[in-house]
């Protein structure tokens, strides 16, 4: 047989279908460890392999999907990883009789990686290594990583695979109905990241049927020249009488197989619900067909877990935010060492809001001078983790220390850029090895042990040496950026010209370029003016990416204007949109006119800044603005915007609650200023969790939200009898009564309360809610309205109040 990658170039390879269900159909108990069957039920496993081969599979998969130490531990078999995998590979080899390829199946570990879970990245790599080493020893032709939904876990698996052997790896992720993985990764990001780390093919398996996987594979095909692989379920699972069934017929699967092949998919198989009959039909449909040709331009693509940024002509120059640099910003390092994450987090968010495409992270603080002994690698790891939690931009790992670079790359969830690789032998080879291992792109620095080359030609020659080494290591040309080196104009004015000449020369040879802008203005006054001018000149030479402060409005405006003049921004759409951006969205730093208090309060409430809103309210009071005017003119508009964004799904329930809390804090401060004078009320609402029920978190949240909107709340608490609710409603002259219950048993009490109210002749509107309460149930018991969550409650109350007015 040809090597599998050779065969893949000639024609589509058909992979087998589901294993677990076939084993169960053959008599393996449903709760038993399926992988253990290779030891105790070898004939059964051999039989499944034989059936798929007979159906026309070119690749059979070992029965090792969950044969890692963590999954096997659930059956007390963690000590059998080596034996099970080796035996499974041996069985498949035996079944194959050298006529088909054997793929070692490797599924998820069943544990979440840090920071989401407890599993560290090195521990994940080690667990995969253990399984893959045994599969390789058992003689598999390739490895299939399957059904992984966390991009970082897929990275760990690929890194492990490349460490244990040179066997080609096909990396599949699994996607949900929204077209992303459970942790939010879209297919194009998955394809780019996994291909970069060295997968021989990328693809998708499980979770969805062929119909739903088609757009996912299309998205992968658009960004990757890699061979593709797809293993759909036989349709979406349906639950019938408590049993999961898959309904796609072999014929339907076959027609999709042909469509996948036309898209350029080279490996087509089946996952849950597929049988030898499906595989036979698919094999017949695409037998010996050549995968469709794809034309994907070689473009630099960098990713976070959820987002891809590519360097295509019209995007240039990409903006790389430079603010998170611990070597020059001691305050960041000091805060971080004291576990205060706010400065770094806020810098990340501010840069993202100001239009950065990527964020540069430099953790090279001199920690000794701060009285700490934390390594740069450790700091880098913390910064990467923190920034990834704060924004969804791809990262640039900025360090000259290979240990710190490795720590950053290991922690990075997506595909990073290394800043930078100089022409110094030792660091060069170590950094290039890291770039290759972690699939990172690189910035080349034309800097050798002999210092800074003084002419453009020398700089280009120096950079080309590094570039050649990188290409020899297998790094692609599109993944290399070159820095022409920027010097301070104040110290060496003639060097500015050399930098620009280097830039022109690099571009004339077809290389991609990047530079750190602000060095040029070092030592000069009004640095932002100098930076803006230099950027315009560099853009004129074809600069592809710039490391700068995106919150510097002047430089950003120069960049946007430059994009108009270079026809990158046709019709000046972005430029005009940038000028029109509302005050709240404009960069926080170096603004020409200070943001108004109203804007600040608005922004604080929208961000849910409970602590930050209080001093702002105090500042407004100090300016002599009346509490009521602060409420109506500053807080109410923010609250309305929160409601609007929630309705448009731009804000989510917990964010809305957090914003409500910020408003509560603001109100509390206003009330103190009002010294007992009452706030105007929109109406009175009695709220209670009914008798027998003690779950009142939902009701409490509704109370908070309603209070913010100016309603007076009488909260009776939980476990409240019907009579007490009716008494309180009568006593307080409530306009509306709100009832909450969490359980099917206690929700019946709502009906009792309504009966009690009506018995007393009380006509107040009653609204109900709770986890199990539906609109239909609300109607049935005679309630006037129903809210599914705290986000709907204000709308409901307004509706009930206006009903009242129109009927009275």
């Amino acid at each position: 047989m040809k090597p599998v990658l050779e065969a893949l170039k000639d024609h589509v390879l058909i992979c087998d279908g589901a294993m677990g269900t076939m084993l169960q159909a053959g008599g393996l108990p449903a709760g038993a460890c399926p992988e253990e069957a290779v030891l105790s039920r070898a004939e059964l496993v051999l039989g499944v392999h034989a059936q798929y081969m007979e159906a026309g599979a070119d690749i059979i998969e070992t029965n090792t999907f969950g044969a890692n130490r963590y999954k096997l531990a659930e059956y007390g078999l963690q000590g059998e990883v080596e034996r099970i995998n080796r035996e499974a590979a041996r069985l498949a080899r035996k079944a194959s009789r050298g006529r088909v390829y054997v793929a070692g199946s490797v599924g998820p570990l069943g544990k979440q990686l840090a920071p989401l879970g407890d599993l560290t990245f090195p521990a994940a790599v080690e667990a995969y290594r253990e399984q893959m080493r045994a599969l390789a020893h058992g003689g598999v032709d390739l490895l299939f990583i399957e059904t992984v939904s966390d991009l970082k876990e897929a990275k760990a698996a690929l890194i492990a695979a490349r460490e244990v052997s040179g066997i080609p790896v096909v990396a599949h992720m699994t996607f949900g109905e929204g077209g992303r993985t459970l942790t939010g990764t879209p297919p194009d990001v998955a394809a780019v990241v996994l291909a970069a780390i060295g997968a021989a093919a990328v693809g998708a398996n499980c979770s969805l049927g062929p119909e739903e996987l088609l757009p996912i594979i299309k998205a992968m095909a658009a960004v990757s020249r890699m061979p593709l692989s797809v293993m759909p379920n036989a349709g979406l699972p349906e639950l019938v009488d408590g049993v999961t069934v898959f309904r796609k017929s072999p014929a339907a699967m076959a027609s999709f197989a042909a469509r996948f092949a036309a898209l350029g998919v080279g490996i087509i198989g089946g996952c849950c619900g597929t049988t030898p009959a499906h595989i036979r039909a698919m094999a017949t449909a695409v037998a010996r067909k050549r995968p469709g040709k794809r034309d994907v331009a070689p473009v630099l693509r960098l990713c976070s877990r959820t987002r891809m940024v590519s360097l295509e002509g019209e995007r240039a120059p990409l903006v790389i935010g430079e603010r998170i640099n611990l070597s020059v910003r001691k305050a960041f390092a000091r805060a971080l060492l004291g576990d205060d994450t706010a400065p770094v987090r806020e810098a990340a968010q501010a840069q993202a809001e100001s239009g950065a495409h990527l964020l540069d992270l430099n953790a090279g603080a001199h920690t000794e001078s701060l009285g700490a002994t934390v390594s740069e690698a450790n700091l880098m790891e913390r910064v990467v983790r923190l920034v990834q939690r704060s924004v969804d931009l791809p990262l640039v790992i900025d360090s000259q220390n290979p240990d710190a670079v490795e720590a950053g790359l290991r922690e990075c969830e997506g595909r990073a850029l290394i800043n930078s690789i100089p022409a110094e032998k030792e660091r060069l080879s170590r950094l290039l090895t890291l770039a290759r291992a972690y699939g990172a792109a690189i910035i080349v620095l034309p800097l050798s042990g002999k210092g800074i080359p003084d002419t453009a030609e020398k700089r280009v020659r120096c950079a080309e040496e590094v570039r050649a080494s990188a290409l020899r290591m297998g790094i692609r040309p599109e993944d290399i950026l070159i820095d022409p080196l920027v010097m301070a104009a104040s110290a060496s004015p003639e060097q500015v010209r050399v930098t620009l000449e280097t830039l022109r020369l690099l571009k004339s040879r077809g290389y991609q370029t990047v530079m750190g802008l602000s060095n040029v203005s070092y030592g000069l006054p009004e640095r932002s003016v100098v930076n803006a001018a230099f950027l315009a000149m560099a853009m004129g030479c074809g600069l592809d990416a710039v490391i700068m402060n995106p919150s510097d409005v002047r430089v950003m405006e120069s960049l946007r204007a430059g994009r108009v003049l270079s026809l990158a921004d046709r019709g000046a759409k972005e430029f005009i949109a940038g000028l029109r951006a509302p005050a709240a969205a404009r960069p926080a730093e170096k603004r020409a006119t200070p943001r108004s208090l109203k804007d600040d309060i608005f922004a604080a409430i929208l961000a849910g800044d409970r602590e930050g809103v209080i001093p702002l309210v105090e500042a407004a009071l100090a300016r002599g603005i009346k509490p009521l005017d602060i409420n109506i003119g500053m807080i109410a508009p923010a609250l309305e915007e929160v409601g609007r964004r929630f309705e448009r799904k731009q804000l989510f329930l917990p964010q809305m609650i957090l914003a409500s809390e910020a408003v509560q804090h603001a109100f509390a401060r206003l009330r103190r200023a009002m010294r007992g004078e009452p706030m105007p009320s929109r109406g009175k609402i009695v709220m209670a969790t009914v008798l027998g029920d003690v779950h009142d978190i939902g009701k409490n949240i509704c109370c908070t939200v309603l209070e913010n909107y100016g309603y007076e709340i009488v909260d009776l608490g939980r476990n409240v009898p019907a009579e007490a609710i009716a008494d309180a409603a009568a006593h307080s002259v409530a306009d509306i009564i709100g009832l909450s219950a969490l359980m099917t048993t206690t929700m019946r009490q709502m009906e009792v309360v309504i009966a009690e109210l009506r018995k007393r002749g009380m006509r107040q509107k009653v609204m109900v809610g709770g986890a199990v309460v539906t609109a239909a149930y609300a109607r049935k018991i005679g309630a006037d309205g129903h809210a599914r969550n705290a986000g709907e409650i204000v709308g409901l109350v307004r509706k009930l109040s206006s009903d009242d007015r129109s009927t009275s």
């Binding site: 053959g26 008599g27 108990p29 449903a30 709760g31 038993a32 460890c33 059964l44 659930e74 059956y75 007390g76 544990k111 979440q112 920071p115 989401l116 879970g117 407890d118 929204g178 992303r180 459970l182 942790t183 939010g184 408590g242 877990r305 959820t306 987002r307 994450t341 987090r345 968010q349 939690r389 704060s390 924004v391 969804d392 961000a607 849910g608 800044d609 989510f652 329930l653 917990p654 964010q655 609650i657 957090l658 409500s660 809390e661 509560q664 008798l691 027998g692 029920d693 003690v694 779950h695 978190i697 409490n700 949240i701 908070t704 359980m743 099917t744 048993t745 206690t746 969550n789």
Partner: protein, 217 residues
Amino acid sequence: MVAGGVIQNAVVEGGIEFEVLRALVLRRLQVSARDEGRLGKVRELLDSVCAAGRQYLAPAAVHATVDVAHCGDIEVSFTGTAFRVLSRDVASLLRSCGEATLMALTVGPAVTREIEHFMAAGRMTEAMILDAFASEAAEACVERLCAALGGRHAREGRAPTRRFSPGYGDWALDAQRGVLEALGAGRIGLSVNEQNILAPEKSITAVIGWKEFVQSA
């Protein structure tokens, strides 16, 4: 035959290992995992509340595996306990089962107290996140327990049914009291009030059946 009281072979287990999937906590908060990056400050709270949340969880379970003595249309009785199930749904679930496991699990009262503290302090967002986290933790613990039991049974050729809890289908919520009594769940601090609400709040009772698997030739 034991007329009442606690099933003799009921096992108390503490220190159950578990893992709470963040995507599931987000789902309870009505946020899809893909939108996590758009949560702003809430994301930080999610991190800190979930990380700190674990210290308030002390999962403990008590379970007993008993023979199914009789399985009628609506009534199921077991060997070694006077506890009976009255439910068509459970009866059909356990129809071909030789054995069944009754279980009760709690993650303990501390987390509920912490949720109340948050509410009392007006920190509703934290309260809501911790509530979702604790509920998912209880589910995760039961899943882990079932997987461990399943492994043991599988080696003896038995496969599990679905897990079924009082309050679902036609199995009345008041069955919880019987389950707790049969298991002696007071030993793990688990009780039920007059309205059949479990205390501590984040607790689960359930039954799972084990059917003999027909071995192939």
